[in-house]
């Protein structure tokens, strides 16, 4: 270890940081705190190509009278809508896992209701939908959204 003097150590640190940053860039990896920073890199096009603008997932919570409401971030704190959407998207091909995630999410919302009854209403269920393209072959009308029910969980 005699060769590991301070200047050698500093050079190694410099090389390590640059190499890891370049590695993540070239191989499109996410190794926190390095990343390829690919957010918003895909161009959103809708110039009459019939391509879906987005296939967004969205949640509704079912309240006691059976009606559905769109959740605010306060319902699912400390999660937020962006994180939740990404987490649920990761499990779309595994319905059993998706169901468990929704169950836990309902538990979290119920716990938040107990803590902050003014902010979170009493909930009895949660439904996950996928919003189909606004402009596309499957759309009946250009302005119509088709919402597919992916999964639902009740108390």
């Amino acid at each position: 270890m005699r060769f590991l003097t301070r200047p050698v150590g500093v050079n190694l640190i410099i090389l390590l940081v640059i190499s890891l940053a370049m590695f993540d860039m070239l191989f499109k990896r996410q190794d926190f705190p390095f990343s390829c920073f690919d957010m918003f890199s895909k161009a959103y096009r809708r110039s009459g190509l019939g391509e879906p603008l987005s296939l967004q997932l969205y949640l509704t919570f079912v309240v006691e009278d059976g009606s559905e409401i769109l959740p605010l971030d306060s319902y699912i704190r400390p999660l937020d809508s962006l994180r939740l959407r990404a987490s649920l998207s990761n499990s779309l091909d595994r319905p059993d896992v998706l169901k468990i995630k929704l169950m836990r999410l309902l538990s979290l919302a119920l716990a938040n209701h107990e803590k902050y009854p003014d902010l979170v209403p009493p909930l009895i269920g949660v439904k996950l939908y996928q919003e189909m393209p606004r402009v596309g072959k499957q759309a009946i009308d250009k302005n119509e959204k088709i919402n597919l029910l992916i999964s639902e969980v009740f108390k």
């Binding site: 050079n11 940053a21 190794d31 926190f32 705190p33 920073f37």
Partner: protein, 301 residues
């Protein structure tokens, strides 16, 4: 040839520099962290993650290898957050700086990385964590710190050394690679379509922020211009490393881009921590010299 490359390498990284810029940068940088992330150590916002179910736990990077995660104890997370907050304060003050920066960087990796293990990686905190690690490896506490005050009582500390230049250089290089990476992903995924098409207009429509919608309605073509500016300033960010004139153009554009993204993207575009990483481009010694000269000039008037 080899000697020449080594000479250039050493000249680039290790020219003797004053400790002033590094010290002022350290104070402001950690002060910004202390203010911006106050909810973590003051209000223990991180502790709420203990209530989130294990089913939503999707560890990233080194979190995959830490055995006791996810943590179910809110108290434990709160204690870690508090220790982290104290370590940041120590970094500002320059108290036991060599130890406090190491503790701060390790805990910051945990504190800011932990929420990323629940579905989505938030890219706002990456540069802050990396810069803290770089500062932990540097001698940033040797001036304008309680440590230096105590040390000076024992000896005359030399405040010009090769040790004070490389951390700032490495921060510049890392951030430039981050921007290059972002530009490269845009180029490789979408090509020039990213700024020549209606891409940014669609993004504005998606997030429906008032300012973005106003620009879209009144100056739709300006969105392509803005997108082009972002695209090329990201791709050419490394030029700022080799020429200060390029830096004077590119760095303000990138700063403005970060400051303005919340107007277009709302919450999804709030990359505020990136903004205080730009302070590392400020030559504090020159700024203070200018202020001092101005003060002298005002006295003579």
């Amino acid at each position: 040839m080899r000697a020449s490359i080594l000479k250039k390498w050493n000249q680039y990284w290790f020219l003797p520099k004053s400790a002033f810029n590094l010290a002022v940068g350290r104070i402001i940088f950690f002060l910004c962290i202390l203010v911006y992330y106050d909810d973590i150590y003051l209000f223990h916002s991180l502790g709420a993650w203990a209530n989130v179910s294990n089913e939503l736990w999707e560890p990233i990077s080194l979190f995959k290898y830490i055995p006791f995660l996810p943590i179910q104890s809110q108290l434990f997370i709160n204690i870690i957050s508090s220790i982290w907050g104290v370590s940041v304060l120590f970094c500002v003050l320059g108290l036991f700086t060599s130890i406090s920066t190491v503790i701060c960087s390790v805990l910051m990796y945990f504190v800011l990385g932990y929420p990323n293990c629940f579905g989505k990686i938030n890219h706002a905190d990456h540069p802050v964590v990396l810069i803290t690690f770089i500062l932990a490896a540097s001698r940033c506490g040797e001036l304008l710190s309680i440590d230096s005050y105590r040390k000076k009582k024992r000896s005359n500390a030399n405040s010009i050394s090769w040790e004070y230049g490389w951390p700032i250089r490495l921060i510049h290089v890392s951030l430039s690679i981050f921007y290059l990476s972002s530009g490269y992903q845009k180029l490789s995924t979408s090509g020039f379509d990213w700024f020549t098409s209606d891409n940014l207009a669609n993004i504005v429509l998606k997030f429906e922020q008032p300012f973005g919608m106003w620009v879209l309605n009144h100056f739709p073509m300006s969105l392509n211009f803005v997108a082009g500016m972002v695209f090329f300033s990201e791709l050419f960010a490394p030029l700022s490393l080799i020429n200060s004139k390029f830096a004077l153009i590119i760095i303000p554009i990138l700063f403005t881009f970060h400051a303005a993204t919340p107007l277009v993207l709302g919450k999804a575009g709030s990359f505020y921590p990136w903004l205080f990483c730009f302070l590392w481009w400020i030559p504090f010694d020159r700024v203070f010299l200018l202020i001092r000269r101005a003060q002298i000039y005002m006295k003579h008037l």
